[in-house]
Symmetry: C2
Subunit: 544 residues, 2 copies
Amino acid sequence: MRDFTDHLRPSQPDGSTTLARERAQSSVNVEELGQHLLSSDGFLERQARVLSILQREPVLSKDKQQNLSRPDRFKLALARGKLLRRLKDKHQWSPEDHKMAEYLLDDVSPYFLHTEMFVTTVREQGSEAQRAHWMPLIESWKIIGAYAQTELGHGSNVRGLELEARWDSRTKEFVLHSPTLTASKWWNGSLGRTANHAIVVAQLLLPAPGSPDKYVSHGPHPFIVQVRDMQTHQPLDGIVIGDIGPKYGYSTIDNAYMLFDNFRLVFTTMLKARPLFANPSNFSIPHAAFLSRYSSVDPRTGIYSKPEQPALVYGSMTYVRANIVQHARLVLARATTIAVRYTVVRRQFQDRDGDKTGPELSVLDYPTVQIRILPLLATVFALHYTGRGMQEVYQSTRQDVEQRNFQSLAHMHSMSSGLKSLCTTLAADGIETCRRALGGHGFGGGSGLIQLNNDYLSKPTVEGDNWMITQQVAAYLIKRMTAAIESPNTPSDNDTDASFKELIRAKQGKSPSHCQYDVLENDRDIVRSFQLRAATLVYPKSLS
Amino acid sequence: MRDFTDHLRPSQPDGSTTLARERAQSSVNVEELGQHLLSSDGFLERQARVLSILQREPVLSKDKQQNLSRPDRFKLALARGKLLRRLKDKHQWSPEDHKMAEYLLDDVSPYFLHTEMFVTTVREQGSEAQRAHWMPLIESWKIIGAYAQTELGHGSNVRGLELEARWDSRTKEFVLHSPTLTASKWWNGSLGRTANHAIVVAQLLLPAPGSPDKYVSHGPHPFIVQVRDMQTHQPLDGIVIGDIGPKYGYSTIDNAYMLFDNFRLVFTTMLKARPLFANPSNFSIPHAAFLSRYSSVDPRTGIYSKPEQPALVYGSMTYVRANIVQHARLVLARATTIAVRYTVVRRQFQDRDGDKTGPELSVLDYPTVQIRILPLLATVFALHYTGRGMQEVYQSTRQDVEQRNFQSLAHMHSMSSGLKSLCTTLAADGIETCRRALGGHGFGGGSGLIQLNNDYLSKPTVEGDNWMITQQVAAYLIKRMTAAIESPNTPSDNDTDASFKELIRAKQGKSPSHCQYDVLENDRDIVRSFQLRAATLVYPKSLS
């Protein structure tokens, strides 16, 4: 509809003019910086290649999506998730290409749990036979899986989960049962409407040795369970599943509740189709559900073999935390980019000390805006290198674990917890600081910060609440520091150990006030001073 | 749909049991506290009476509203807004009763600007004749009004508004014109779809004395303008209006953009119907639009009479800020109530130092939860008394102004700016702290915090950005302190003045280190120490 506003222009100098002027004043080589930050893992090349494909697809246009109802928004996300999978096949995308497409689309995909925690759990926790059976079904999307651990009444304390997986020694079957309402699985993404399978974490209940009528719990263990009929998509008899309803963000994903009523893990469609486990010399069919790479239940005797490393059960959570750490930089980079550009373009009030003939000042020229935005810009770079460091530690630990070397596991677990808490708090609070720095326009859809903020506000509490998991880090650090003090000359497992021991050796006989750090001139000394601070906080006695 | 979950109960002790036990441990008389806080202005009686009426209306049920699309959510809010008005007539509600209904409904009403800024501006800025004409139309909702001040490119700096109201001395008409895109009115609530009239704030352009072809601006002034046809509801010729689209919250209100193309303020439907202004001895008809209580333009000569107090133009903004200050307590009270109750009911991990046979600990028993929630509980009480203090100062200043005594205006303006910034920052950040303290469930719709947070996040930037208006407060305080130092013995205008002068007198010859405040035992000394701190920050030299 044409009207007189078609001919109007912004007041001068307009945004493009102002941005061009600001850019001309900078001596930073943007091309070079981009290559330095994002070329080593092919990010920039991949982004350009995948983006050009996505831009051709009308269903991926973000123009109208903010006006949709929650159910319609979910349906759109489902259509998009399927399309990305078809594009993956068509263009022979690698898993990294597919992830780039999801990043650019910026929906939390309804298939997110399938492509992340479901496949990772089967890969990491499944026995060789289980992986041989399930991985082709998962990778071809012949089955769609979710990850059902959290319950309505139980999140942080995984050992407190109520769902029972009782071993029926008569029928040699596991029986899943939700004894209470609080035992209801809750929050499980991709499960409310999309998935037909799930990793279900339940208390493993086995007959007590010598008293077959009495059961003892061996703690939470993961089972792979078909939860919906493959033809009708209805929940199987004895299972109730649904969508938990509205959330702060995440309207593109179907977080679920799920309860079991004495549900027996028996033959499933998929197992009938490929009866890999029918050979009793491996184990019986119901046993196929018990992910048994690290622990097992003898199908004849019901006797339990516990894992060498109980922490391995939480492997998928660590994987997700490491990814969250890596992801934070890009989230805050987007928010900060928006804030820097907008506060340059936005002008408000003339310079009181100027001649008052020119345009109003860019609001970024005000110290009250600079002190909010510029530290966040620096934080983005810190998050970038931190995320890369986290990935390196994660990958090398995974390699160790595959070799059944579990020495670095505790360090990696502690690092992923501490950094998940720190990085998501920095990014979540940073987005909101950026949003408010945009003034009124930060409240508008044009800011580009609404879905970003709504979705990201899950991060400080999801996958280990930020306040809770830092206590795990503290406990780990105190333990390592105590060990370092007791035997300062043993070889170190990791950087934390090594720096603790170095400090103890350096400080023996010296009081902290004798430490000299040239924090103004020497970058390495800034790091050393933080190491000293950390060590002192962890174990003040050691340095007194 | 009945299934096996109907018979399930929460694990024990359940929420009701836990809450009952906690309440039994408290010695606070809740009834008495409620009366103390909320009975003096009839809040509790009004709440009970209005709530019982609202609960009978199905359209006011909040059960499904979170699932609606933005357009449907707006339509629902419009239906509810109309219903509340009909209930007002039916039950002969006072304005306070109507506000209570809106508070309980908890939608930002599409009629909000009509019942708040529109009516307030006409009442405060209109001449006697203008009020006699417009107030009955406004109060009977025969016209629906909005308030259009902010522009796309201009918010904080009201003097920078671009919309022009040019006085055509030939036709004796004002001509509204938007010269640029950035001059577009923007964010104006109730105007996108609902209102047919608006207060439009525009630069008053009058011919320069002696050079009738040259125009000079006399700054922004409010005009009352019919913007839509009373029969078709279409924008009048020369006006473009629309809804600005998605926002962070406020999906229940139609924030607008609006532009004018040499739009002449001439006869309107309403003025034709009641030609109160047709008598040229008052002023000509186009002049009816120029709200002329404090300033005027002579319809014959075009000569401008400026207001005694230019700050009066911002009266409606001060009114809204004072209301925002008053409102903060109830918002944070709701969030804190949810957080306290939930963190008592929510149990996670057993007490490590206990015998490990009992239930898990309430998370409120953890210091990491207490240090987040309990200070906010105290803040609610502080906000309560602060809000009441703000209302008292606002009301007494309004009485002064009605008597044309403008002495207390600057103090009230500064107080409303400073407290608007402080109280909304405390409340907005407090809601988010409460939300995160709920762990994962804080991200769910069941938390009750989604719409509360989404709507409230407008507050730190709306009606004067929190960072910007505190600078106005600082400027005012420095000015008053300088005056107090120059003449410490003149009578004080207000509390700030008085405390500055008291401090200066008390301190003469003493250094701050000699001040002795018994902040542990004497409440009054806590206040005194903060006064000293404020005075020292405002004018360090005075106390050295």
